[in-house]
């Protein structure tokens, strides 16, 4: 009758929190954790912290770019191996 997802307790929600934030749970589990977070004032801050933490980590992509000199050396080694980056014509 009810479409309510299966209720889970805080321990279960927290155990699955990283999986949830990484989008690694199956659909039913994702719904269960999301529903728990919407209704639990204790667990929601953990989820918000986790989300911010992962976002901060992902910004390392912007901070760490290969130095141009390294790229040049790799490209030179590839050229020696026969690679040509120039299109014909």
């Amino acid at each position: 009758m009810s479409d309510e997802p299966r209720a889970i307790d805080c321990r279960t929600a927290v155990q699955q929190l990283w999986d949830y934030l990484d989008d690694e749970l199956n659909d039913a589990r994702m719904v269960e954790v999301r529903h728990h977070l919407l209704t639990c004032k204790s667990c929601l801050p953990h989820a918000e912290f986790g989300r911010l933490f992962i976002q901060a980590l992902s910004r390392a992509r912007e901070r760490h770019v290969m130095p141009p000199a390294v790229r040049s050396q790799v490209m030179a080694a590839l050229a020696e191996a026969g690679y040509s980056s120039e299109s014909p014509g």
Partner: protein
Amino acid sequence: MAESRDSGQSKDDSFARDAIPWMDDVYRFALSLTRDSNDAQDIVQETYLRAYRSWHTFEPGSDCRRWLFTICRNAFLRSRQHSRHEVEAIDGDAEALASAREHSEMIVDGTDRILASVDLGPALDRAMADLDEPFRSVVQLVDVEDQSYEAAADILGVPIGTVRSRLFRARRQMQQKLRAHAKDAGLATVEADRKSHV
């Protein structure tokens, strides 16, 4: 002859299109493995040379970045002559619970505010660099390079459960480092300290 030249050019074109654009990503992964820019350069170079030489084995349309990460990881292991890592007994669920406990303590002492810090990058980089292998490479793949657990498991040659448990432990360890950093930066509050002793 012309045919062979055409096929060589076709190989180079597809390599330029599918493999070259991921060089920054491979460099970051190599740097996370080696923690040394010179070693990372060697690993990236070896990765790309091996990828170029075995380009015929790459399946067009499949995930080239994942393929390059795998070559990179293997190049790193060869360079260190690592034997296979033993599968450590870490419980992912227990690590997730410990992470939440750590966060609760951060709320109590006020250090959770560090995530709002504008100059969090260097502290996070240090926390990540301090991680031991094999934890660092999992964080790099999943959190920085946005690989799924399944892709990371494939690249690292370990079961998905191992990726999960290593990742959760690594995140908890970084949380602890960030908390210490926040305390050093004076983010812990006196009132919060009092509350924690109630």
